[in-house]
Amino acid sequence: MKKTPVTFKNKNGLTLHGILEQPVNDLDKSTAILFLSPGIKMRVAPHQLYNKMSRHFVGLGYTVLRFDFYGLGDSEGEVTEMMLADLYRSIQEGRYVDDTLSAIEWLSKEVNKNKFLLTGLCGGAITGLLSAEKDDRINGLLGLGIPVILDGSKVDAAKNLTAGHMNRLQKGYVRKIFDPKSWMRLLTFQSDYRIIFNILKKNIRKRLVSPEATASADINRVDINDNTNPLFAPAVFKMLERDAKINFIFSGSDRLDWEYEEKFVSLYKNKLNQYEGEALSVCTIDDANHILSLPKWQNEMIEISTSWLSKNFNDNQV
């Protein structure tokens, strides 16, 4: 693998830093892959997850660019948000779409590619989705743990919990009943009372409502309007309608999996049916956490990605 540190300008003239990784064998796929930074974890991602993925993809013959958005990693520029949740929200609203388009422009000139696949974890995945709306040369998205919601320091996360997340938290609280440290946290006001209150409220409501009413109502329903990202669904369908390919991979222990199911799939089930399996693939890695920290989870993710790549992006550069 040939690794080259590179810099290029974004639309505002700020220098962005990246690493261009190219195959040294005869294989040279016509699609280039761009890795988009997750949150503030720059172009390597947690525990070098992107480096591990990139090594594998370059081995398959893809040219890869991993780069830092402005104000993050080694790149120029500033981020003025004081709270992480507000920075995450700005990313979920498309803060780094322009930087992604600048990277595509640079790649198309430097390595003579005109088909691009975007990949990223969390904030990188949503940036990829929103960028795909703006440039038809983006014909694939490999999104790991893509957020369907909007974060923000003023958003009451406890109010917007999905049923799946609540069930998991509830099990956690039940386990902690005999743990003195947990009681200490509760009594010293360190616990999140809003979450505990919401779980209790849900259980009381479940007991009060008659079985008939429960059967007719969706007890798992949460207020989907509160923090769902309004840009998410239109961007997904725009990609699918122009026959670009999407592969969403979620982690089984991650709230983002439940959010995708409850705040997106449940609302668009019929419309999604026509794309599932073909243009849209969705997989969940059992037990995995958000950052896919264990090698077995990383391997499973890379295996799923490889098979999806070979099915959809296997043509060689002419």
Partner: protein
């Protein structure tokens, strides 16, 4: 206008990635090699690190930030590291900076958390010609490694709902030659043992100019910081900052109190 060049240097077999910052004006002919923190702390603290490099460059210092083997964009695997490899990387970076920037009359070190401990270790082994700035050095390596293993227990709890293996069992697994994966980092017994053995309590250095900046919730000096500063004849400053080397609610773009303490000290050194 920034003059920053990303580059590879060092052994052809295992190259180190770095970013060389060169001042565009008022070049003081003094350089700094930056020594980054351990594991995921490096990524959480990265932007503070970059901001501090740019602050020093603004003052006229040349800076080389680099990724240790097994980190960032450098070659190598994390699982193969130990204290000696960290120290050897720092020495390679110092040589590279001296050789590539021949105007430099002195090269100092800046280290943060475990990077500060390694910077101090290098200063014990060879004379460092420039100032040495240590932000929140890890004084007790054993305690630090135990805390690192605790993250593994938290992951077990979050994923499996219970702690399947306690710290003693994790160490036993490493002793059998297995890796223990902590937050995605494969920890092997060599690295675990060598970092556990880091103990700055008895450090003595006769030559060099040192600043230790203790980070905490108050400005009250801790005994271990006072002891260390006395044993290496360092100036000790105590500042209040949030622990931005791990996930907190704030986004830390720069650590103003840490940075100011270092800048003031450098100013008084001139």
């Amino acid at each position: 206008m920034l003059n920053e060049t990303p580059l590879y240097f060092g052994d052809d077999e295992e190259q180190l990635f770095g970013v060389l910052h060169i001042p565009v004006k008022n070049n003081l002919n003094c350089g700094f090699v930056f020594c980054h923190p351990f594991a995921e702390e490096k990524l959480w603290a990265h932007r503070v690190y970059v901001s501090f490099a740019r602050t020093l460059v603004e003052m006229g210092y040349t800076v080389l930030r680099f990724d240790h083997r097994g980190y960032g964009d450098s070659d190598g695997a994390f699982s193969e590291l130990n204290v000696q490899t960290y120290i050897s990387d720092i020495k390679v970076a110092i040589s590279y900076l001296h050789n590539s920037q021949q105007n430099l009359e002195s090269v100092g070190l800046f280290g943060y958390r475990l990077g500060a401990s390694f910077a101090l270790n290098v200063s014990q082994q060879q004379v460092v010609s420039g100032p040495v700035i240590l932000w929140d050095p890890i004084i007790d390596g054993d305690r630090y490694m135990q805390e690192f293993l605790r993250s593994h227990l938290s992951t077990q709890l979050a994923v499996y709902g219970e702690v399947k293996e306690n710290r003693e069992q994790l160490v036993e697994n490493m002793n059998k030659g297995e890796y223990v994966n902590v937050e995605g980092y494969d920890l092997a017994i060599n690295q675990f043992n060598s970092i556990s053995a880091v103990n700055l309590k008895n450090t003595t250095i006769n030559k060099g100019r040192f600043l230790i900046v203790q980070v905490g919730r108050t400005e009250k000096p801790k005994k271990q910081s006072v002891d260390l500063s006395e044993s290496i004849n360092a100036q000790l400053e105590c500042v209040v900052e949030e622990p931005f080397w791990r996930e907190i609610k704030q986004f830390y773009y720069q650590a103003n109190n840490l940075s100011t303490a270092a800048v003031n000290w450098l100013g008084s050194e001139k």
